[in-house]
Assembly symmetry: C2
Homo-oligomer: 197 residues x 2
């Protein structure tokens, strides 16, 4: 049985969203068939207007309601402590901790030679300019713990003035982990990163 065209189109669009496979796309599409019309109209409008209503912060390149985001506008923040992340949603993740009181910089990805992403494809020049402009004392590199994230961290370290302290988020075993199931690379990092108790 062929799906009706309108339904099939929707399933194909939904399937391209991250984490959505054919089965869940179908389930969502059938759900949307039986929601009140107003729901679908509102959803359509929200998706269509997304880019009009959401700005990218001119300073840190995070998402924002305005041209400069809340965090960059906040005078209570330590503007000499900067956390560098790959993507805008990483800012949210770190903010959800409620611990970090500095500012952010969203690179827009990580160096990835296999996918032809070099430093020039990231917001690296902007990073260096901001570090200089705000006389930043510490840059916390919170890129992912992948090969690409690590390479990006090393690249940032190499480009920054020696007076700027460059730190990397801690690596080691996650909380609740069982030593027996840890991979060697993580275990090595955990040993190297041991701290006095």
């Amino acid at each position: 049985m062929k799906l009706p065209v309108g339904l099939n189109n929707l399933v194909e669009f939904l399937q391209r969203l991250p984490g959505v496979g054919p089965k869940s796309a179908l389930r969502m599409a059938f759900y949307l068939l039986q929601t009140p019309d107003s729901f679908n109209d509102e959803l359509a409008r929200t998706v269509g207007d997304l880019r009009k209503n959401v700005f990218v912060c001119n300073e840190c390149f995070s998402v924002s309601d305005e041209e400069i985001c809340e965090i960059c506008q906040d005078n209570g923040r330590n503007k000499q402590l900067m956390c560098v992340v790959e993507r805008a949603d990483d800012v949210l993740t770190i903010e959800s901790l409620g611990e970090f009181r500095g500012i952010y910089h969203v690179l827009g990805g990580a160096i990835n030679p296999l996918n032809h992403i070099g430093p020039e494809d990231l917001r690296m020049v902007e990073l260096l300019n901001r570090v200089e402009k705000y006389e930043i004392k510490e840059v916390v590199v919170a890129t992912n713990l992948s090969l690409e994230g690590e390479a990006t961290a090393l690249y940032i370290k190499s480009k920054l003035n020696k007076e700027v302290k460059v730190t990397r988020i801690g690596t080691g075993l996650p909380m609740g982990a069982d030593l027996g199931y840890a991979d060697m690379a993580t275990l090595q990092r955990a040993m190297d990163g041991r701290r006095e108790i």
Copy 2:
């Protein structure tokens, strides 16, 4: 950090889709922030127009491109064998087997007293009318194996003329199952439903 309003609205809509939690909604929303504009516009249009382009079959209440669905229009189908399902996507599931050559009837749910869904809220009258009109010989009740689905099956059996054969899809252990992990109700059904080999 508050999410920008446009993004937050989208996250709230996406979260209401089945199988989408706060984290995956956020991931999808951020994905939609960086897709080409045309993708979002097309997705918005497809969602908004869904109900305009997809019909409910006037006969079996499955989804269709036309007023009468492909299956109901198909003369190669056995019109005296009817499979009753709860939802339109169940038709797709059974069709994907490629085994069943009869017609369908979509009830639109199952009897569920706790949620105040009685037979009058389902397409039960339509079912009885169709069984009579097509002089159907066998009704295969393929509602879910839940309490509600079972009650619905019994209700259908009670309402149909004694000359109509009413069958229920087979119950028992799923393929690949381990006896040790089976629940008692399934095991009981598997014993009751044993067949000669």
